[in-house]
Symmetry: C2
Subunit: 368 residues, 2 copies
Amino acid sequence: MALAFHFHPLAASRARLSPPHLHSAAGAPSPSVALTAAPHHRLRLRRRFCAVVATAAASPAATTEFDFNAYMGERATAVNRALDAAIPAGDPPAALHDAMRYALLAGGKRVRPALCLAACAVAGGPEAWAMPAAAAVEMVHTMSLVHDDLPCMDDDDLRRGKPTCHVVYGEPIAVLTGDALLSLAFHHMASVGSYPPDVDPHKHPARVVRAIGELARCIGSEGLVAGQVVDLEMTGTSETVPLERLEYIHLHKTAALLEASVVIGAIIGGGTDEQIERLRKYARSIGLLFQVVDDILDVTKSSEELGKTAGKDLASDKTTYPKLLGLDKSREFAEKLLSDATEQLAGFDKEKAAPLLHLAYYIAHRQN
Amino acid sequence: MALAFHFHPLAASRARLSPPHLHSAAGAPSPSVALTAAPHHRLRLRRRFCAVVATAAASPAATTEFDFNAYMGERATAVNRALDAAIPAGDPPAALHDAMRYALLAGGKRVRPALCLAACAVAGGPEAWAMPAAAAVEMVHTMSLVHDDLPCMDDDDLRRGKPTCHVVYGEPIAVLTGDALLSLAFHHMASVGSYPPDVDPHKHPARVVRAIGELARCIGSEGLVAGQVVDLEMTGTSETVPLERLEYIHLHKTAALLEASVVIGAIIGGGTDEQIERLRKYARSIGLLFQVVDDILDVTKSSEELGKTAGKDLASDKTTYPKLLGLDKSREFAEKLLSDATEQLAGFDKEKAAPLLHLAYYIAHRQN
């Protein structure tokens, strides 16, 4: 049964949120609130963000604000274009390609690709270098959704407001769609054809190898799959799940891929080992934050708002943060994670780190 | 219903088979028949093959024959050791690791890893460089078996003489085991820890990137998965499947990974583009050969001999080469493919190419 309160996931503690280092005047930025910054900074930011997304028209009169919505929208457009180009429409086997496109191009905010691109930029690389990696993390994410939704797993009929892959294409094609998306992620990262014409992926093959290793690690028995296995084990049990167990599930099922998205971007961008590790810590915090907020939203929002079956965790007796800690403590925990994440950005160039800072706030404050 | 004749798959045409270029005196080598060769050649071959497999004891009195069984046995031992080390036993999540080990360490002849290692050597590389890739192709192969055996796919209960993964561990774990093995393959190829202590994988990162791209390509909508999709579409239909369609299935479902195994080995070994393409042609022929022989064995051997459910293709009304061409024509086709494959080896050093030649004959003459 869905509980349909309308509230901000961190509403109770929002007053205490403020970005720790970007600038003191801004208050807590949110996706819909433009951030004030010194005019010359804003201008340069705007220009760089437009420059890496070829089809996003640069406004003739450059705006004087860092526009988070525009930042995300431009990146989503570019990532969607890369995903669209990666899977031929209509080519045989048509059923497979159709199902892959259905699952992959179903919308979504492309948070993981945005994290990957933003981390590449903060690590010093041209953002375009990380576009194949950004597309790859979305492919992996989609694959995990398609398989987790299967009747033998979470048995979910609704995803992003649409019937799930196996509902539309049948179970065999859904299993194979996941397999194909998973392998496509690695093919995409390793192929010259995935990179923009002016980017030579063979210029830094060691970075690509390291990034591929990082992506692969976050999927299997140290990542997504491990989280799903333990999650399945916990579902429907009457025993009280200890907090450490819940964190294990979330760190693996959700945080691992968010961590990989950031770390891969940082590697491709040429970050130092020290920078990569700081960004890894940032990513771990927002990864757990993402799931805590997800749990909170599940008990407080309707299915229509979420685009997926709400209250499902409660109905299936799954352990969640609100169930274990209560809503208020869950929000406090989320607040702490947000603070931990943003602290890790302190040593980076403020302009370059702005997108990652905004992404952390966005993850904390999102409504679905 | 299984038909239990005992015969050699290529028995009808065996008299016409002779290795096209190795030496005229040998006749058709088979896995159990040692090949005669000039004594100094034999000695050097034996030494090199022993040298790359550290734990395989070199016979103090080096034998004077190229021993194919020993060659395969040594490589299977080394590959099994690499696979065993790649998956921690007992570590959490235990059910997942157990299932991965159950599926991966169930035996099997490790033909794909052997092809990978042999291709690396023929392309000029130390064989040890290709060991992580050899383990990776076996992980991918196992993943495809685990998913193809699922109830919603081919619904197979028996594999390599043992209950299939989902029978033992349940369907959700079987799906996740496949996902974990697939990602582990890429992790294994990309990780420093997978390589022997004296091998620096970062020495040739561009080769690793190219090899990873090749492996990824053969899995998804251009490889294994595409073959399985079209295979599922054909199963149980009353229409006559044209030969091109059957070849499409086999080229994707079976040949693609055999091709990748060879090509990846050649890339890691440092082969020229021209060498790699010749080895690709060799691999395509033995890939199709592998499936034609599989089809022949399915209608002519018992389940006990095969270690899997025999006559299944016939029972499920699947189109096979024997069904489409008859047994004699199927054998002739296999013979032609064997000849095409061995022709591609003509330009390579005879000693170095001997394992690939023997592997082609082995694939043609195997009994299960």
